[in-house]
């Protein structure tokens, strides 16, 4: 099972957490047009590779925090505060060839 590093509790199994999806999405002004609002609500980059996302240690301390994780290898490359900005993705190949999975 994937392990995540809670900033308060340390390494814990993924089962203790809930994923809150893509992080750092700013809410547009409430008088914006429908297209902007639907973009905010529904449209996601959904990258194959590094993804900055929110997690909550639901069955632990209950705190929200941010994680930079590769969606293919599940390797976590950064853990940062819920109000902090995502670090720049590390250069180089995003997917580890050894665990890349079958061709799709």
């Amino acid at each position: 099972m994937m392990q995540l590093q809670c900033p308060w509790c340390g390494d814990r199994p993924q089962r203790e957490f809930d994923c809150g999806g893509t992080t750092g999405i700013a809410r547009p002004p409430l008088d914006c047009d429908d297209e902007t609002w639907s973009r905010y609500l529904f449209i996601r980059d959904n990258p194959k590779g590094p993804h900055a996302e929110r997690w909550r240690h639901t069955f632990g301390c209950g705190q929200w925090f941010n994680v930079q994780r590769d969606t293919v290898t599940h390797r976590v490359t950064a853990v940062f505060g819920i109000t902090e900005r995502a670090p720049e993705p590390a250069p180089g190949p995003t997917a580890d060839p050894a665990t890349k999975g079958e061709p799709s």
Binding site: M1, M2, P13, Q14, R15, D18, C19, G21, D34, E35, S38, R39, L41, F42, I43, R44, D45, N46, P47, K48, H51, E53, R69, T71, V72, T73, H74, T99, G101, E102, P103, S104
Partner: protein, 426 residues
């Protein structure tokens, strides 16, 4: 001697004389041409069905299906082969019912046995709340003209006696109060659906190109004019008047290459099978409350489907967290299967949208068409996904059945929330 192509008892007997050496290959593995009227990206069930109906219903002659791996090797080969049309809202009912009806005639249509087995899809109710919710669900289906029967515990027991109903002294942990069944639901052989459509499409002149990954799109004045490809390791370009994406969990990745963002998130959906045993299950049985469902393949393996890994994933492998929940639910609900060994477990990458309903039709990028968003339930929709996408490709407009399932609904707010009927929690 001409090779035999039509499957029939007569041809089977006649071919026996030559030791069955005179059968033609089922379909042709094509080399890509420089230009096509329509290119369909993705050689799964949806892509192959689209090619078939585009050629058959609309008479388009110059079509290619480009598959990055091998046909049917993605989600078409990874699902649990369930077909049903037990959805809640009229728009979905029309869409999925059309699919089920096409499945009912598909073996004959394609001259290829897809092994459709309408053994019934049984949904279990474990609480009063489940009973109420399922009454609403089954009644909605009947209002939409689709078969559904509410069942009490005794009727469920007659259908599936091996389920855990508890004993006189030991009540079941998850009591079964009843449920409902769609008797026309069941399963079909997933590989046969891909191969059947491939064979029929190939016979109509469709080029099926394997090991051909689409790496980008070329455009002219904003309109898609072709695709960049890597075919068997070689870089190339294929011109196309129209391009359709039928790539499920990779829809966002490919759409992004055309500058299009989608309301899609990709997740891994896991399934597993046990070692084969004599017949033990009669129906497809689902327990939405426990996040697991069971059926038995013709080989005797018990096919078990589970929930999503609830975080975005492109890893085509399952997670032990979900696997453990699914196995625990199986042992609890079907105690007599508790000693079986699991033979295999795997995952497919599914394209989940916020209302658990598909997107089928034109996109804001001229020349680019889309079939995605089936999420955890794409297999049952293969015929209708192909049927409606072919219509969109041929006419430039959404098919009547697919009109409610356009990208605009995320702007207009007219979502069709089928999360409850999707069967798998997400």
């Amino acid at each position: 001697m001409t090779a035999r192509t039509h499957y029939s008892a007569r041809n089977l007997l006649a071919s026996a004389r030559s030791g069955h050496a005179d059968w033609a290959p089922a379909w042709t593995d094509a080399e890509p041409k420089a230009r096509y009227d329509a290119v369909i990206v993705g050689g799964g069930g949806h892509g192959l069905a689209t090619a078939y109906y585009l050629a058959k219903n609309h008479g388009v002659a110059n079509i290619a299906v480009l598959e990055a791996g091998w046909i049917g090797g993605g989600n078409t080969g990874r699902n649990t082969t369930i077909v049903r049309s037990n959805y809640l809202y009229p728009e979905s009912a029309r869409l999925y019912e059309h699919s089920l009806r096409l499945y009912e005639g598909l073996s004959k249509e394609l001259n290829f046995n897809i092994m459709l087995s309408q053994r019934g899809v049984l949904t279990l109710a474990h609480s009063r709340h489940d009973m109420d919710a399922q009454s609403r669900w089954a009644n909605a289906m009947r209002c939409n003209g689709i078969d559904a029967e509410l069942l009490d515990a005794r009727q469920v027991r007659e259908l599936e006696p091996r389920l855990n109903f508890g004993g006189p002294t030991q009540p079941a942990r998850y009591p079964i109060l009843g449920g409902f069944i769609q008797r026309r639901g069941g399963s079909a052989r997933h590989d046969a659906v891909a191969w059947g459509y491939a064979r029929a499409a190939s016979a109509l002149g469709v080029d099926i190109v394997q090991n051909c990954e689409v790496t980008g799109f070329t455009t002219s004045q904003g309109r898609v004019t072709g695709v960049d490809v890597r075919h068997q390791g070689r870089v190339g370009h294929i011109q196309a008047d129209k391009v359709a994406l039928a790539v499920a969990g990779h829809s966002s990745v490919l759409a992004a290459k055309a500058g299009l963002s989608l309301p899609v998130t990709s997740y891994a959906l896991q399934a597993m099978v046990t070692e084969p045993v004599k017949p033990v299950l009669n129906t497809v049985t689902m327990s939405p409350a426990l996040g697991a469902y069971w059926s038995q393949s013709d080989k005797g393996e018990v096919v078990i489907g589970g929930a999503l890994d609830h975080f975005p994933s492109y890893a085509q492998r399952g997670n032990f967290d979900v696997m453990q929940q699914v196995v625990a639910a199986t042992c609890e609900m079907l105690p007599s299967l508790g000693r079986l060994r699991l033979l295999r477990q795997w995952a497919g990458i599914v394209d989940v949208v916020h209302d658990s309903s598909p997107i089928i039709g034109p996109t804001p990028v001229p020349g680019l068409y889309l079939n995605c968003g089936w999420g955890t339930g794409g297999f049952k929709a293969i015929p209708v996904g192909g049927w409606t996408l072919a219509h969109a490709l041929a006419t430039g407009r959404a098919h009547e059945l697919a009109e409610p399932f356009q990208l605009e609904r995320f702007h207009t707010g007219r979502l069709i929330d089928e999360a409850g009927a999707a069967g798998i929690a997400h």
